[in-house]
Each structure stands twice: as C-alpha cells, then as structure tokens.
Point group: C2
Chain length 154, copies 2
DNA sequence: TATCATATAATAATTGTTATCAAGAATAAC
DNA sequence: GTTATTCTTGATAACAATTATTATATGATA
C-alpha cells in the first residue's frame, strides 16, 4: 500500500502537484476501499473520520485531480452520483461492472472481454477507441440464489 | 411517423395513460430528432417552439413516463445531464454509443455485438443480464479524418 | 525577511432534477 | 346538463450534487 501511495505521489509530482495531507488521506481512503465504488460524499465522510478538518470541496477537487491523472476512474451508474474507482495498476482499460437491479450491489469484471468487439468497432465505424464503459444491469448471483432452486453453494 | 405515434399512443393506453397534446408534442420532437441524444432541456426548448405553453416539469414527467414504458432510453454520458433516445421499434436491447472526445459527437451502433460477451458473463459470473450500457470513448471518423495523414497536431 | 504560488476550509452559488399544489381538462355517474 | 372523480398540467419551491468564490494558510524561494 505504501508503495502505491509512493507511485501516486510521483504521478502528482510529474504533473506539478503535491501530495498534501488532505490528498494523501483521500488516496488512503480509496486504497482501503477498493471495489467499493464510493461516491464523493462517501469518500468525504470516510476521510473525515481520520482528518476531520477536511472540507467537502477539497475532496471533490482531489477526486477531479486524480481522475485527470487517471489514478481513479469516474463512473456513473445513472443514480445521480458519480462514483470513483482506483484504476488497477497497469490496467490499460477500464474494467466493467455488474449492477444488480435487486440489491444494488456492484461487482467488477476485470477481464477485458471486449477485444473482438473493439476490433469490429474500430474497423467498421472507423472509430479510434480510447476508453470504454460497459455495464450490465441484471440480477446478481446472490439475489437469484435466494429464489432460484439451483442456487450456488459457496 | 404517424403510425409510430399511434403505437406509442396504444402503449400509453395499455398502461392507463393518455396521449395528451403535451405528450404528443414531446414525442414528436423525439421522433423528429432521432439519434440526437437530446437532454431534457433540449427537448423542452424544442417542444416550446410548437407548444409554447408547456412547462419544463411536464417534459420531465413525460420523459420519465416514456422511459418507464421503454419507449425511450435514458442515457448518461457523464456530462451531468441525462439524454433520451427513442428505442428502435422491436429492439430488445439497448444500442451502443460512440462518443467522440474531440468534437463531442455521439454516434449510434444498432448492432448488438455483445452476444458472446453476455453469454460469458451470464455463465461465469452467474449474472442474469436484463440490460446493458456500452459506450466507447475515442476519436470519430470525422475528427481523425481531418488530420489523418499528418497525424501529429497539438 | 518579504514574496510568490499553491492549497485549503467555509460557504455561497449554480445546476439538473423532483416534489408540491392549486387549477384545468377529461371522463364517468347521476 | 350538472356534479364527482381522476388525470394532467404549469408554476414554482425544494432538493441534492457539484462548482465557484473568497479569504486564509502553507510552503518554497530569493
């Protein structure tokens, strides 16, 4: 974890920004809640536990900055708030999400899966793909397990 | 076009709603601007040209209603506003989008393309897919065409 | 030291959207 | 036809998420 902070610090410095205590606290919260898909408000409340003097605007600014530097990805599941995910180190592409319409859980798919599709799109639509967003809405294994007979026994 | 309005009228009636003049005006604007990805505000301004007495709230209500009936799809490209697309008649699935990061243009992909990917996701993650959202961000043919030969520019 | 740029907390302002509510049609009951 | 009843509407207030403002603090530099 410390090494990841170090690397993020370098990324900031490369872009002429500093890793201030507030920014570090924000990054730490993100690191401690990977895959949690926190909203700005969520992050704010969590950071506040450790650094109560931080302001909401600072969290917004930090998240914006981190998005710009591609340290985090800003996602939007259509529920009115933006959510922030740490980008996996070395991941060229954005990961996908499974949003459960029953319980609201958000699971991640790290696999790319879109290789073929992207090739088709680039060729057929003459479109140079830089990034993608893929979200499936449906019923997760937990919820379908509850009512389904052949539920998976974990 | 009239026949599509007729069908939408039936859909409304089936759900115990009426095609009021305001709703019809809104639907007509959507029909006349297919593939335009209008925001609620856009729709409001366009409807106002024909029916100046309409209120913004009515447009929001109508768009919400049409979304519920799956006449339109509500999409979000992360720019802070929701956009509304008429769903292609008979389309079981939501179409995909190409968002150009240069000029902001939004093109549509009607083809599904995700058949294989969905099969994998359903099997491997035990997830029952009901809908999907797929958006590619990149450079469209228009923008890459402009500088295509001597690529390097600012 | 003074000076300069950056970062900050607090708060005001803005934006997209939703809720409220009284008034206006449409429909049904008498 | 008149009266209920139910929808629907327009205007506007309320709301929540985000962004801008401002005055202050911090830290580096000369």
């Amino acid at each position: 974890m410390e090494s990841r902070i170090e690397r993020i610090k370098k990324q900031l410095h490369n872009a002429n920004y500093k890793l201030t205590p507030q920014r570090e606290a924000t990054v730490r919260v993100l690191l401690e809640h990977e895959e949690a898909h926190l909203s700005a408000e969520d992050v704010y409340l969590l950071v506040k536990e450790k650094a109560p003097e931080i302001g909401l605007a600072t969290v917004y600014r930090t998240l914006e900055l981190l998005t710009e530097l591609k340290v985090v990805d800003k996602i939007n599941f259509g529920d009115g708030v933006s959510r922030f995910d740490l980008r996996q180190e070395g991941a060229a592409h954005f990961h996908h999400h499974l949003v459960c319409i029953e319980c609201g859980a958000v699971d991640e798919i790290q696999e790319d899966l879109l290789g073929d599709v992207e090739q088709i799109v680039e060729d057929r639509w003459n479109f140079q793909i830089k990034d993608h967003r893929l979200t499936f809405h449906g019923i997760c294994w937990r919820c379908s397990g509850e009512t389904s007979d052949d539920a998976e026994r974990t």
